[in-house]
């Protein structure tokens, strides 16, 4: 059992709990199962809190961009507004359409929720603060996030509603198109690191801001820009939120969902936004590297900056039309990322960067 060492250093209570568990003489597979279940619960709690915070933050930013305050009533600047919202959603009646496709309707929010959290197995929150450093790290994240699309399609189909179905189909077309430029921009970084492991990618950017891939001219900034555009589309956020375009599709794939099922979609959306930002930080902004402050603070701080960028996108740009969206991906982003890969490969081959 390899316990993440720095986790134990950072939080002495973790190592104390582990020693306590070990002293009970539990046999090995059960010990590991207990430890990983504990880690999963901790991760779930942290992410649920994070998502609640992000909802509040988004509302505040939206408010201030539109010259109003946003939530103000509950606590200082409405800080526990979203907690009250979550409690309200928990109590709400679970309204279900009679003509729904029962199993599909039930499982869609569950899969969406689980898929959003699966990526966090390989995301390093700090030096050693990682659940499991898989050697396929970034590829694993790309693989599990595809389940989000399946869940949106299931929600669209299961609701038996034409707006929901349209929303589901739009999301499928969008995510399949934007997966190509996203993977192609990630490939630039992987090419230089020579490894898919998240920890290796972060370690390759040690030693100062000029080693971060976002600042390696000329391919770094281009790769970051194409990644963040594709990631916005992958997370279904405005200006690419056509799956749930309110003015066209009522609310898209989640029209028929209410109560806790709706809350699961809603929280998963914010967790996804945080995931793509965290990956942007790991790939392009040196992950946990930074001076003075503890590593996890640097990671969270940088990630919140990228989330802020996504939120500014959301409240400043108008939504794209479906055909514009497809044309932008296939006629602009894909060629740019491919040319960028060739440039990066040439730099690597010529040995101008290491």
């Amino acid at each position: 059992m390899t316990w993440p060492i720095a986790t134990a250093e950072l939080f002495p209570i973790f190592s104390y709990l582990y020693e306590l568990l070990e002293s009970t003489g539990l046999p090995q597979p059960w010990l590991a199962i207990v430890v990983y279940t504990f880690l999963a619960v901790v991760m779930f709690g942290v992410l649920a809190l994070l998502a609640l915070f992000l909802v509040w933050w988004e509302r505040k930013i939206a408010g201030h961009i539109q010259q109003r305050f946003g939530p103000m009533r509950h606590g200082w600047h409405g800080w526990y507004q979203t907690i009250m919202d979550a409690v309200k959603l928990l109590q709400k009646e679970d309204v279900r359409v009679a003509t729904r496709d029962k199993p599909v309707f039930f499982w869609a929010p569950v899969i969406c929720f689980v898929a959003a959290f699966l990526a966090y197995v390989t995301i390093p929150f700090g030096e050693g603060l990682i659940v499991a450093d898989l050697n396929i790290g970034i590829l694993y994240v790309m693989a599990v996030t595809t389940f989000t699309v399946i869940s949106l399609l299931m929600a669209g189909w299961g609701s038996n509603n034409k707006y929901a179905l349209l929303g589901g189909m739009r999301s499928a077309a969008q995510v399949v198109s934007y997966e190509v430029p996203m993977v192609a921009s990630i490939l630039v970084v992987v090419l230089f690191v020579g490894s898919l492991s998240m920890v290796d990618i972060v370690q390759a950017q040690a030693g100062g801001i000029w080693n971060w891939y976002a600042f390696r001219l000329p391919f770094g900034p281009i790769a970051f820009c194409t990644y963040i555009i594709a990631a916005t589309a992958e997370a279904n956020r405005t200006p690419f939120d056509i799956p749930e375009a309110e003015q066209e599709l009522v609310a898209g794939f989640n029209v028929e969902y209410s109560g806790m099922k709706f809350a699961m979609f809603f929280l998963a959306e914010f967790v996804n936004a945080f995931t793509v930002s965290a990956i942007a930080v790991i790939l392009f902004f040196g992950g946990w590297h930074g001076a003075l402050l503890p590593s996890w603070m640097w990671f969270l701080g940088k990630t919140f900056m990228i989330v802020l960028l996504l939120m500014l996108f959301r409240w400043t740009y108008p939504r794209l039309r479906v055909d514009q969206l497809m044309e932008f991906s296939w006629k602009f982003l894909v060629p740019v990322t491919f040319v960028n890969i060739i440039i990066a490969a040439w730099f690597k081959y010529a040995g101008w960067y290491w």
């Binding site: 590991a32 496709d101 599909v104 396929i136 693989a143 399609l153 589901g168 499928a172 399949v176 490894s195």
Partner: protein
Amino acid sequence: MLEVDGGIVFWILSFVILVSGFMVVSLKNVFHCALALVLCLFTVAGLYILLDAEFLAAAQVLIYVGAVAILLIFAVMLTSKLADKRITQSNEQALVGFFICALFAVAAYLLIKFNTIWYPLAKSALPSDNILTIGKYLMTEFMLPFEVVSILLVAALIGAIALARTEKS
């Protein structure tokens, strides 16, 4: 890492693969069949992880679940005639078909059982980072098949566009 006996995990995965595979060919609703296919392909990826082939597992999920299954579901959704109908996937020859398949299964089992020489696999013989090895071999020894597959895929892509394209008059 998690040191759990692979045996029980293997049996659970195999059970899910077989049940979901049977659901793909037996369910009445095409959309449900497609979802069962997703489950089947996902659990096959689990088997790959059990075999220490993490790259293959990720590629399986990325390509089969992320692309093939989604396009399949997409096609089902677009063909509303197909989606509304409750189809039957078997006909009156189901029983005969079952016996022929059972015969094939027995024959395949016997062939594998008696004609395969099993090499004991040393755990240390496996490279710790097999992605690097895969990449190296794809770019050196298996360059030709790799390129041929790439050209084939590009040809399929262009062919699909040529078929779908409407001529502007």
